[in-house]
């Protein structure tokens, strides 16, 4: 079988894979990084979102072999080595940006990608950027609030602004 080598959260990792092996299968089943979730497996929900060479990608809709040599960051790579949460993760905790938590890894990866492209997004820009991330608990309000907070912007007026 062909081999694929990725840098995953800063560590070089190699595996033999089939042509059809998806990035999310490689991460979860082979590298045992199960923080990246499979929600819909049809590229709708975004629970599998990771960063590939810095760009947000749905890992259920990318072939492992197509990404040979890429630099992949998953939710496991977001916190510091000592367990210190990233600013986005800390904001999700502070503002209760999750209910059941299933969509959260993808939400955090999407939020981090957004803030790297647009450090001070508006509420409308946050909501637009999250179009490909679905929260089945429909807890969007606090997710938006957390991302706004992670960008260093005030959140006190949020309830009134999006009512």
């Amino acid at each position: 079988m062909p081999q694929v080598t990725l840098s995953v959260n800063g560590t070089q990792m190699t595996a033999e894979v089939e042509g059809r092996t998806l990035l999310v299968e490689l991460l979860r089943d082979r590298f045992r990084l199960t923080g990246t979730h499979i929600g819909c497996d049809t590229s709708q929900c975004g629970a599998c979102a990771v960063h590939v060479d810095g760009a947000l990608v749905k890992a259920c809709t990318a072939l492992a072999l197509d990404l040979d040599g890429a630099d992949v960051t998953t939710i496991e790579g977001m916190a510091g080595a000592d367990g210190t949460l990233s600013p986005v993760q800390q904001a999700f905790q502070d503002h209760h940006g999750l209910q059941c938590g299933f969509c959260t890894p993808g939400m955090v990866m999407a939020a981090a990608a957004l803030l790297s492209e647009n450090p001070k997004p508006t509420v409308a820009e946050i909501r637009e950027y999250l179009e490909g991330n679905i929260c089945r608990c429909t807890g969007y309000h606090n997710i938006v609030k957390a991302i706004l907070a992670a960008s260093g912007q005030p959140v006190d007026d949020l309830a009134a602004s999006v009512a």
Binding site: G19, R20, S43, L56, K58, T61, D66, Y129, G132
Partner: protein, 263 residues
């Protein structure tokens, strides 16, 4: 998804050679093909990824007022790099799917698939663009051939698309909110010698030019000129999301909005 062999050539010539088999299928960003294969609606024996071909990526203005976009250029890259040259096209690319889809999906993949609700076909047809393949050039008017149909031969690769730059243009998309495809999308492009109007998401045979609107707008580029027209006499898609007569109505509304917003 059934298993397959995988190849990732670095040049167009290598890709063409790899595709020279009945079992082979070209792969762009995979945002349509991979879901299709998961459903076992397609099962190629060999996938040939085109995303490793450097000469097929990027946005490049030509000396004679046109814009060439490589076939393997992602929607995100078009959104970022075409903005200074063709704002309406960049704006269209910026609203395809969602951010993750835009980071993988490619213009060549979208055009080779010719989904009847995809955004790019409207821009290509309204701009009078040219599809450049590994073996020839195809005018937009000769390229689209019904729902999911194109003039491409088996194994032929879209290496790029050449867009003439209009004086002003705009794309208006009525989004189907679940899929984020166009329920109806209208691209209006005004050139010095006339106006072209292309409609996606609506026609039962895929993207089409609304010639009555083109004639009216070429004489009078105004929203009123659109409002005075009958809805297009074209067989419309009619499904659970929108009946055909509603889509026809939306075509006129979105055309008017595009004229008003054109810049």
């Amino acid at each position: 998804m059934y298993d397959f062999d995988f190849a990732k050539p670095a040049t167009i010539a290598e890709a063409r050679a790899a595709l020279n088999s009945d079992e082979a299928q070209a792969l762009g960003g995979g945002q349509t093909l991979l879901p299709t294969m998961k459903q076992r609606l397609a099962a190629p024996g060999l996938l040939v990824s085109l995303t490793g071909i450097a000469e097929m990526k990027g946005v490049r203005p030509t000396g004679d007022g046109q814009l060439v976009i490589g076939g393997a250029t992602t929607h995100a890259m078009v959104a970022a790099e075409a903005a200074a040259h063709y704002p309406a096209l960049a704006d269209l690319a910026r609203r395809i799917g969602d951010p993750a889809v835009r980071n993988r999906g490619t213009i060549g993949g979208s055009l080779a698939n010719n989904d009847p609700s995809a955004c790019y076909p409207s821009a290509v047809l309204a701009s009078g663009a040219t599809i450049v393949t590994d073996s020839r050039e195809i005018a937009a008017d000769d390229y689209f051939d019904g729902m999911f149909g194109t003039a491409l031969e088996d194994g032929e690769i879209i290496t790029g698309v050449r867009f003439p730059l209009p004086r002003e243009a705009d794309y208006q998309k009525f989004v189907q909110p679940a899929s984020r495809f166009a329920l109806v999308g209208v691209f209006v492009a005004r050139f010095s010698d006339g106006v072209r109007v292309a409609v996606t998401g609506a026609g039962a045979q895929g993207v089409f030019r609304w010639t009555e609107a083109e004639a009216a707008l070429s004489a009078d580029f105004s929203r009123d000129a659109v409002a005075a027209l009958a809805v297009p006499d074209v067989e419309m898609i009619s499904d659970m999301h929108a009946a055909g007569d509603y889509r026809a109505h939306l075509v006129r509304v979105m055309t008017g909005r595009a004229v008003a917003a054109a810049r």
